[in-house]
């Protein structure tokens, strides 16, 4: 069961309301996406913790329905640097 780009975005935003989420469909098969997530919640967290927040938002679909999500996480001011 593949996922839609919009579904990924809304799931992440539901858990991280301030997040700016950009999702790119890499293969058109609903299984391989790249996402960039920028949120204040990431500030001070290790990359692993930042990514784990996103995985939690995706409710266990990561590695299941969603086979591959190339993830990039940022804190807001880092994005403008």
């Amino acid at each position: 069961m593949a996922m839609q780009a919009g579904e990924i975005e809304s799931l992440i935003k539901a858990a991280l309301p301030d997040a700016v989420v950009v999702v790119e469909d890499l293969a058109g098969d609903g299984d391989h996406y790249a996402a960039t997530v920028t949120s204040e919640r990431f500030r001070g967290l290790s990359r692993v913790k930042q990514h784990q927040l996103v995985f939690q938002a995706l409710g266990g679909r990561m590695g299941g329905a969603l086979h591959a999500l190339a993830l990039q996480t940022n804190v807001p001011d880092q994005e403008n640097a």
Binding site: R47, V48, H51, G63, A68, A70, L71, Q72
Partner: protein
């Protein structure tokens, strides 16, 4: 292998091996693009590393995900600490953070 056995095995492996990669396939024959990329990066940096092929052991494949609370493979450990999967290892390599981390973890020569 019981859950405790898997956890004990993982703890032993990440302690005994300064750079330990849980991957799909082997360093010589990676069986997944993400695993292959991490192997490529480790080879490029040129440090010795150990690997475990999760495709050979379903208990390990699930156990490592629970151990690190990380849902995907590959998973890189340096000096017993979970560093990340393909994305984070690539990002750290590109930012220049990975090489010193790996070199400090592996005795020279």
């Amino acid at each position: 292998m019981s859950e405790n056995d898997v956890e004990a095995r993982i703890k032993r492996e990440i302690t005994e091996n300064p750079v330990m990669l849980y991957m799909k396939g082997t360093a010589m024959f990676p069986q997944c693009g993400f695993s292959a990329r991490v192997v490529q990066i480790l080879n490029h940096v040129g440090v010795p590393f150990a690997t475990a092929n999760v495709l050979e052991d379903p208990d390990l494949r699930d156990g490592i995900k629970q151990f690190s609370n990380w849902p995907t493979i590959p998973q890189l450990y340096v000096r017993g600490e979970f560093i990340g999967g393909c994305d984070i290892v690539t990002e750290m390599f590109q930012s220049g953070e990975l090489e010193p981390l790996l070199k400090q973890a592996t005795p020279a020569g």
